[in-house]
Amino acid sequence: MYRCHLILLSFVIFLVLSGCWDRVEIEQRGFVVGVAIDLAEEQSGGASDGDQQIELTLQLANPRGLGSTTTGGGQQKAFLNISGTGSSIFEINRDMAKQTSRTPFYEHLKVIIVSKELAQKPGLFSKTMDTFIRDPEMRRSVKVLVAEGKSKNFLNMESEQEKLPSLKIESIIKNTRKNASIIEPVRIGKVHQLLLNRNSYVLPTISLVNNKLKDEGVAVLHGKSNVLVGTLNKTETKGLNFIKGETSSGVFHVNVDGDSVIYEIVNAKSKIQCEAKSKDDLKFTVSIEMEGNIAEDYGSKDDLIDERYLKKVESKIEQEIKNIAQQTIDKVQKELKVDVLGFDRRLRRTDYDLWEQVRKNWDRGDNYFAKSDVNVEANAIVRITGVADQTKSGIIE
């Protein structure tokens, strides 16, 4: 009797423990590493709901092509790009299952590239982001980028070091440390937060020049209407980084008494102060403080150790910082009239009641942002002038 029970029990255990509803063999999983979203070439008449047709391109990693060259695998490509067209990301996604033997699996997604054209259509950007925020498989650390031109072209790039174009893009945009005109990568979790707060924001842009990837400049998106309203060029992006205090390094080229001096930024900080008397009298002061070293000095007239000369160099650098920052402010405040500088958050911290009054008309409607006064102050410090004073003698014969 007892034995009979045991046998029965083991059968039940076999039944229960051997099944797995969610089993997907690893060979059948298509690891999506990059996603590109474009406007569809032409409208197929079937879109009855009037939604814009979009084209979705997925980059699936091909593990066989990824193996090191010695283990064989031959000439297989390391990735596989598949595209589909439709009116919603999720629908396209399901359709794509027909194109590949592997089920798309998003847990390892690294980058989402959205074409500039798409972001210029009202409301379309947030619509396409929805599924990437909503789906439990997605991670909030996926990076979002805006592409000049067709975004799917970026997934076909040739590259030597990285076998997967998506990974190459990801690693390049992470290199903010070496260049002052690249902004910090923007994660989709941050996009969610910005969309909810209706803050205007910037996204890094990438472009292809002679089939080489360039990541300079940013796209400016307006918070309320959620439309790409403009872009900032290299210098303006530099200014943006100065104002937001997000520069961690970079190089300055200033002219002192007709000779070039190259200044290397080591550390930069910024402070935005807000003087809010009333909603029509808002004053913002941006103080930028920079520390750095002299990397090169082409001049030979003066000693770098000489305090007067050093002061001159510093004031030149300060002038340059102010110029660059002012350029950005002019563009953002007077031309685009969109607050991507974080003044809204500053005001919210300084005077919450006043902020509540102006928040609905901050960078839209009455646009208090465009009306406010902005003042830039800069302070540059030279810490190290190198191990030698001058390369050639300063005495003019």
């Binding site: 229960v16 509803w21 969610d22 847990e107 390892h108 439990p136 991670r139 909030r140 650390s141 994660r187 979790g189 969610h192 937060q193 909810l196 707060n197 974080g342 958050r345 919210r348 911290r349 919450y352």
Partner: protein
């Protein structure tokens, strides 16, 4: 197979100290940052969590004081002394219904969360059943064994909460915490209410203190034990606000799980940390569910003394499972949760206070 008996059905005061955080930390903390963030501005919710936690500590002390007044006496017996036997029996049954519903709620919640993040295609009924079977197995065994599991799991749970908060520091932005103290009074009040409600669970002391040999120090020590969940919640809440800001945290269904998904161990060799977080958190929810089910069984058994423990468990289990499967969607589950919390406020907050007052007035005391 022969049953192995662990000591006896007695527990020490140390086990009770571990039981309090074990029953409190459950599915509530997965969504708590959302609820608090919706009511408050910036990081202001910390005030509410501390206030709610302080209130919970006070209530723990009240409940434990009541139970410790009658050493080695079950709830139904000491309630009979205070307010006649029939009322005591009704109260016991009503409280056992509370813990029964709570067990269902925990089973359903963990099944829903697991389905959402882990098992895409597995039917929710099956996820709930497999989890609940383990709980039934745990409760069928020795009670001392359950308490030992608490002792074993709790440090791991606290450790993982710490890891989640520390390794998301990379995404922490001080700007997200502002503005400070801009929440309205109503905001604080309702956030405090929600935070207090998330610390319910001290009701188990009504029944468990009877198992302790020397309950004199229990009220103070269990109240102090309540600090652990309060600080765990505070830590997770502040991390959520710092990483997501109040707007996004208030918009996510389970901000704590999303926080775990953000974890990045330096060196980038480890992705998908949330799988580990889930394993540990299911242990936490197992503790909560098992304790809650055990109290249900204990309460009913104190009234129906003739029924064996196993008979009660096998009668109650189908009920628990059916109740758990009744809600249709997320909205229904939250509604069930809401109902249970208000029900608990009546029976584990109001009733113990009344009983304690009546006992003091009438001078009823257990034999020491």
């Amino acid at each position: 197979m022969k049953d192995f008996e662990y000591g006896d059905e007695q527990i020490g005061e140390k086990e009770l100290r571990f039981a309090i955080p074990s029953i409190v930390i459950g599915v509530g903390v997965l969504s708590l940052p959302r609820v608090i963030a919706q009511e408050t501005n910036g990081v202001d919710g910390w005030v509410s969590i501390l206030l709610g936690g302080g209130l919970a500590m006070f209530m723990t002390w009240i409940v434990a004081t009541l139970a410790a007044r009658f050493p080695k006496t079950t709830f139904v017996d000491y309630a009979s002394l205070i307010v006649s036997k029939p009322i005591a029996i009704i109260l016991t049954l009503l409280i056992s219904i509370q813990f029964l519903l709570f067990t269902s709620y925990e089973v359903r919640s963990i099944a829903s969360v697991s389905k959402l993040y882990l098992f895409d295609r597995t039917p929710i009924e099956f996820i709930a059943l497999s989890f609940f079977l383990v709980v039934i197995y745990g409760v069928s065994g020795s009670r001392a064994g359950l308490f030992r599991l608490n002792l074993l799991f709790l440090p791991i749970i606290l450790f993982i909460a710490l890891v989640v908060s520390i390794f998301t520091l990379g995404w922490f932005e001080m700007n997200n915490l502002a503005p400070f103290f801009q929440t309205s009074f109503d905001g604080y009040r309702s956030a405090t209410k929600f935070s207090f409600l998330s610390f319910l669970g001290f009701g188990i002391l009504l029944f468990y203190v009877a198992l302790v040999e020397q309950p004199k120090a229990v009220p103070k020590r269990t109240a102090v034990a309540m600090i652990l969940p309060v600080f765990t919640y505070l830590l997770i809440y502040v991390a959520c606000i710092g990483v997501f800001a109040d707007s996004a945290a208030g918009n996510m269904i389970y901000p704590t799980v999303e926080l775990a998904k953000e974890v990045e161990i330096p060196g980038e060799f480890f992705e998908r940390f949330e799988s580990i977080f889930f394993v540990i958190w299911i242990m936490a929810i197992f503790n909560t569910t098992a304790l809650s089910f055990d109290v249900t069984v204990l309460a009913i058994r104190s009234v129906l003394k003739k029924m064996s423990k196993l008979a009660i468990i096998f009668t109650l289990s189908p009920i628990v499972y059916l109740v758990a499967m009744y809600p249709q969607n997320f909205k229904d589950i939250s509604l069930l949760g809401k109902f249970i919390t208000y029900y608990s406020v009546v029976f584990t907050v109001a009733v113990p206070i009344l009983l304690l007052i009546i006992a003091k007035l009438r001078g009823v005391k257990g034999d020491v």
